[in-house]
């Protein structure tokens, strides 16, 4: 078992290389803006394309004509454990139970595999921001969590997108979804609420607030307004002043 553990950790350090793809940007968004989803989303729109994931497929739909969307491309993902999709520039970050996969979007919208960051099997959404990707790994209450899995937050440098590298790792209690806005990172810690970090220095992040007293599963940060999903309420917080994050309303369930 020790060997397996050691082996799993070895996997963390390895990244994959793939063939070069063109770096052209996708066509501009001409027919309206897109909204914002949470980190547990399985649908996302980039330009004229809708990308969807299920356990083993990444699909590309051309939605340039909303009255006639077309399936353009379907990529099989062999690990069969994809959970989430997150877009950044021309990249897609897939959170899978065994790691984070990065795909690059070519001008025709088709994604091609760029690199991977592997970890022990756990539940783990991913979000990204400029040079860093943030991944939570949850073992607590994660069906299928592998041996050696822990509850933690990993910060990964994507400065070299072909070779993601772990910068730092922090223990959490039962991390679920997360969201990033500039240098502020919001991590849902399950029954332990939402933890707010200043991630300006990724090798040593600082907790600036802890929103407690409720269970949190996912967040959507919206430039000063934070939406939090729990099992009983949607909570809204004003974080325009990070020293004084305050709840402004909640939408209760069941009534």
């Amino acid at each position: 078992m020790k060997q397996l553990l050691r082996f799993s950790f070895l996997l963390l350090a390895l990244a994959l290389l793939s063939q070069c793809t063109d770096l052209e940007t996708a066509s501009p968004d001409s027919a309206g803006t897109t909204g914002v989803g949470g980190s547990l989303a399985q649908f996302t729109i980039v330009g004229n394309f809708l990308y969807t994931v299920d356990a083993s497929n990444l699909r590309t739909f051309d939605i340039s004509k909303p009255d006639a969307p077309e399936l353009r491309h379907s990529t099989k993902i062999s690990s069969n454990d994809v959970e989430t999709i997150f877009p950044l520039n021309n990249w897609l970050f897939l959170g899978t139970q065994s790691g984070m996969l990065i795909y690059q979007l070519s001008a025709n919208g088709n994604p091609s595999f760029v690199s991977a960051y592997q970890h022990v099997v756990s539940c783990d959404p991913v979000v990204a921001n400029k040079e860093f990707a943030y991944v939570t790994l949850r073992a607590t209450g994660c069906r299928g969590a592998g041996f050696g899995a822990a509850d933690r937050l990993d910060i990964i440098s994507i400065a070299n997108i072909r070779q993601p590298q772990i910068i730092s790792s922090y223990f959490m209690r039962e991390p679920y979804g997360l969201g990033v806005d500039g240098t502020t990172l919001f991590v849902c810690d399950g029954r332990y609420g939402v933890r707010v970090f200043n991630v300006a220095n990724p090798s040593s992040i600082v907790e600036i607030a802890h929103l407690e007293g409720f269970t949190a599963y996912d967040v959507i940060p919206l430039r000063g307004l934070l939406l939090v999903i729990g099992p009983e309420n949607i909570y809204q917080y004003d974080y325009t002043d990070l020293q004084n994050i305050r709840q402004i309303s909640q939408i209760p369930f069941g009534v």
């Binding site: 060997q3 309206g32 592998g146």
Partner: protein, 214 residues
Amino acid sequence: MLISCYFFVYSPLFQRELLHLFLKRRTFNYKSYSIMKTSPILHGIWLLSLAFFTSCQPQLQEIPEQVMGLAPVYATTDWRVIKVSDSRAIQKLGKMYYKDGYIFAGERGQGIHIIDNRDPFNPRRLKFIEIAGNSDVAIKGNFLYANNLFDLVVLDISNLDQIRVVSRVEKAFPNIEATPLPDNYTGFFECTDPARGVVSHWEEQLLKRPQCWR
């Protein structure tokens, strides 16, 4: 030893993790990883674990006469009909999506609540879009994209009082045969019967001698 037993009882995917290390990842091009070195050890672990798995499984569960668990709700024959109804209480929130002051909150397997959040101090529920088997949503411009079981549907939401379906891609997600159990559910559930159609969502119920669990 106990630990390996524990992992096999509570984590069937652990097997898969091992299999991955063993089979699938061998096809990956890890630069500094030689399967030859680790393979005999892994093989040993695998066999050992298999032995434990087989010894653990019979004790896995005893089927109770009655127990609370999840029962599948089968989609009605008109599951492709999308209706917009008055706002209703949120019960089991799935995904959430935000656009231009409105929150689109998914009711797991049943549809999408539209909440007017232009004043975040006073969010107001506006409508409920009934979409059987829905699990995800994204919006661009005036068009909302959602799955209706294994179909992709596009709704025009430019006028929230007149939401209409503009297109549908049938079987866009062919491998969704049934709405899966909620992600982290462990416990008993009523086995699904494909003859009764596709599962649109799951409901908590008192089950009699359920034959399925995870």
